[in-house]
């Protein structure tokens, strides 16, 4: 197994490099932004040339990529934003916490609610409750989440005025006690988390339901039942362990979707996090900054895939690694 994981790891590193190459290539596709400017402003040729030199647009994409990668690997230097000349790494580090807070809450709450819902639905197969949960999960995966977020904002912050419409900590936040600080953060987190939660719960419960149904059908569960074990024991001691295995695979798909989700959530609630940073930097061709955020996102995705592999290998002893 160690050998297998090592091979996966090598493949992942290879994939990671490919992803960064692809991203850099795509970011450079729109071409040299200074070309047209040069035509319009012939008297500013020198300044434009200086700008181009500084921002790295005078190299072709491959040379630019190798320069960018070399700087990171050897100097740990992620470059500077083309716009405000601030170091990219510092910008990213300050934006990570709020994005993580939202997405990790979505993930944890989604698991805590979605999995029991799926188990419940599978246990009451074909009952009214199962039917209701199935319809709910279809609704959950069909709602465009940006629309759902807007509706939440309209209802809870505009009409009812209960929760802030964007990320707005209290003005006296710094002087609050730690418990009030947490509460204030939670107040801001409710709507963004709820927006991401609907789809996550829906898809997790759907997968959980079908995988539990698959397991419950199997002989060893029947054996456990005929031994006279209580239903609770059958479900939670025998069936659940195997029912959870496919969820590991599902998680590796959920995490990338949360990353895309962070762009949308942060735009709707105007939260200054990684998603906004990514969106703005890509939109404005701020290549060092865009590359930095893209690499962070790709890194998180790959880490989740690797973890998925490891967990999969740990929980399912039947898998052989050749």
């Amino acid at each position: 197994m160690g050998n297998y994981l090592f091979r996966r790891f090598v493949i992942f590193i290879f994939l990671f490099i490919l992803v960064t190459v692809l991203c850099y290539f795509l970011l450079r596709l729109p071409g040299d932004p200074y070309k047209e400017l040069e035509l319009q402003q012939p008297n500013m040729k020198d300044e434009i040339a200086r700008m181009r030199e500084w921002s790295g647009f005078n190299d072709n994409w491959f040379v630019g990529y190798t320069k960018w990668a070399k700087k990171i690997i050897f100097d740990g230097d992620w470059g500077k934003s083309l716009y405000d000349k601030q170091p990219v790494w510092g910008k990213i580090i300050t934006k990570i916490p709020v994005t993580l807070k939202i997405q990790v809450s979505v993930l944890i709450l989604g698991l805590l609610l979605g999995i029991p819902l799926g188990i419940f639905s599978a246990r009451r197969h074909y009952s009214v409750a199962d039917y209701a949960i199935t319809v709910f999960s279809y609704i959950g995966i069909s709602v465009p989440n940006f629309w759902f977020g807007l509706l939440l904002m309209l209802l809870f912050s505009v009409n009812l005025g209960w929760l802030p419409a964007g990320w707005s900590l209290r003005p006296d936040y710094d002087s609050l006690s730690w418990i009030m600080k947490i509460l204030d953060q939670a107040r801001n987190l409710v709507l963004p988390v709820f927006m991401g939660l609907l789809g996550t719960i829906a898809s997790l419960s759907r997968y959980m339901r079908s995988s539990m149904l698959e397991v419950i059908r199997q002989d060893y569960v029947r054996t456990a039942r005929s031994k006279g074990l209580s239903e609770t024991k059958v479900i939670y001691k025998h069936a659940l362990r195997n029912g959870l295995i496919p969820i590991v695979t599902v998680m590796t798909l959920v995490i990338p979707s949360l990353i895309s989700g962070s762009v949308v959530v942060e735009r709707i609630f105007n939260i200054n996090g990684m998603g906004q940073l990514l969106f703005n930097s890509v939109q404005s061709s701020d290549i060092p900054l865009a590359m930095g955020t893209l690499v962070m996102f790709a890194f998180l995705t790959l880490i989740s895939l690797i973890l998925g592999d490891v967990v999969y290998a740990l929980v399912d002893p039947r898998i052989t690694y050749s």
Binding site: I11, L15, L18, Q40, Y126, I141, S142, S284, L294, A298
Partner: protein, 452 residues
């Protein structure tokens, strides 16, 4: 199955009556699937909803007739204010541009404005003390605007003071959004409150600088009033119903074309990988893993920027290029399990070519899960396309309405006028729900034991 089987959603094997249906030869396979599909309540609801959406899309010209608002027509265009300028060409003349020492913080920002491309009318507009947050000057800025010469640039809430020498000064700036492409600055269109960049400026109907907000809510419509805007008009003065209907066309068209393309690609690549195995399989699977690892939304963002102009074809290509992985994985899985079965051996023994084995023998046997997977992916494509349009990366929303684009537009006025946003989002939701219900029904009808 130990659980109660009273409800009728039952697998074929469990129910003796259904087994009869299966074995009786008077039903074809399609007929059998259809009869099972019909008994699936959710699927029937989904089918009805989808037919409704299709009708809604087809009836677009009828709505145009009823409301008297063709799709590009804006109520604003008729109320052209004396200050309006039919065409504005803006050039960036920025004194500090290209100076790496000076960060572009607070600067004066000049527009050179040439109405109607008439150089005699050239004037300047300056934006003072603006804080530019992005290198392409895109975003929300607080600014004062000045117009000289014969140029009039109006922004909502601005007060225009006309001077004796013919120049006009706009006193108060307020919050206005404008964005200009740094590199390829071409033209800007100034709408109420919004300055919108549009690469195909000439074909925009309401290319006027306007003061009014074109919104009219459904409740403000008098019954029997000449142009009947049943759902009201949006911020640009377009009829919401007509645009929703054309949006249905665009959204459904994109979804179906993308799904057809990604199905063809997915089946072909998945078939190659599953049938040949070995090096081809490894290569295709690595590409597939790469596609799944890349954070797709940013890639869409980059690509749609490159594709430019927001054409439907660009979006279709982008979505199809990254969407084939699901179908490919499914096809590969089915082919892997089928390629060692006896009927494949038999086909090989009588000398059938690999292509024939793949597409005449293996494919028909793996169609059930593929069809179900495709149906579910239609919903996914609609959602992705709407998200892109909502982020302003989809089809050009001024020229061609899509539901996502309309939601983006309506989002700007959502506090005062939530209805356009609610309508367009609800239609996206209903369509995706319908498709997913149909997928559920198809799964139960084609092969109840599928786990798609």
């Amino acid at each position: 199955m130990a659980t109660k089987n009273k409800k009728k959603k039952v697998t074929v094997i469990d129910n003796p009556n259904e087994q009869e249906v299966l074995s009786s030869s008077e039903y074809s396979y399609i007929g059998m699937v259809w009869s099972r599909f019909k008994r699936h309540k959710l699927a029937t609801i989904g089918l009805v909803l989808l037919v409704f959406m299709a009708l809604f899309a087809i009836l677009a010209p009828v709505f145009e007739l009823i409301t008297g608002y063709p799709v590009g027509h804006s109520s604003l265009a008729v109320k052209m204010s004396p200050f309006s300028t039919p065409g504005v060409v803006a050039k960036i003349t920025h004194p500090d541009f290209g100076n790496p020492e000076k960060p572009m913080g607070k600067v004066d920002f000049w527009f050179e404005i040439t109405p109607d491309n008439n150089p005699e009318k050239t004037g300047f507009a300056s934006v003072k003390e603006s804080t530019f947050k992005n290198p392409d000057y895109r975003g929300f800025y607080d600014f004062n605007m000045k117009a000289y010469g014969n140029t009039n640039v109006l922004l909502t809430n601005d007060q225009v003071v006309e001077k004796p020498d013919g120049s006009a000064e706009i006193v108060k700036g307020g919050y206005s959004e404008f964005f200009i492409e740094r590199a390829r600055n071409k033209r800007i269109v100034v709408y109420n409150q919004v300055v919108t960049y549009s690469p195909t400026f000439e074909s925009v109907d309401s290319r006027t600088i306007e003061v009014q907000n074109g919104y009219k809510g459904p409740r403000e419509v008098d019954i029997g009033e000449a142009p009947m805007n049943v759902f009201g008009t949006d911020g640009l003065g377009h009829d919401v119903l007509v645009r929703l209907s054309y949006g249905a066309r665009m959204t459904l068209m994109i979804a179906f074309v993308v799904v057809i393309l990604e199905t063809l690609m997915g089946i072909f690549l998945g078939a190659l990988a599953g049938f040949y195995g070995g090096f081809i399989d490894a290569l295709i699977m690595r590409i597939l893993e790469l596609m799944m690892t890349v954070p797709t939304l940013p890639i869409y963002m980059v690509l749609s920027r490159f594709m430019g102009g927001g054409s439907a074809i660009g979006i279709i290509i982008i979505l199809a290029a990254f969407g084939w992985t699901g179908v490919a994985r499914m096809t590969r899985g089915m082919f892997l399990s089928l390629r060692n079965q006896e009927f494949t051996e038999a086909a090989r023994a009588i000398g059938a070519s690999p292509m024939r084995i793949m597409f005449k023998h293996l494919l028909p046997n793996s169609l059930a899960p593929i069809i179900v997977g495709i149906t579910f992916s239609i919903g996914g494509v609609i959602l992705t396309e709407s998200t892109l349009s909502f982020l302003g990366l989809g089809v050009n929303k001024i020229l061609t309405p899509t539901w996502g684009g309309m939601l983006d537009e309506a989002n700007k006025y959502i506090l005062d006028q939530p209805w356009p946003a609610v309508f367009s989002g609800f239609l996206i939701f209903l369509t995706v729900l319908a498709v997913n219900f149909i997928g559920d029904g198809l799964r139960d009808a084609l092969d109840p034991r599928l786990k798609v």
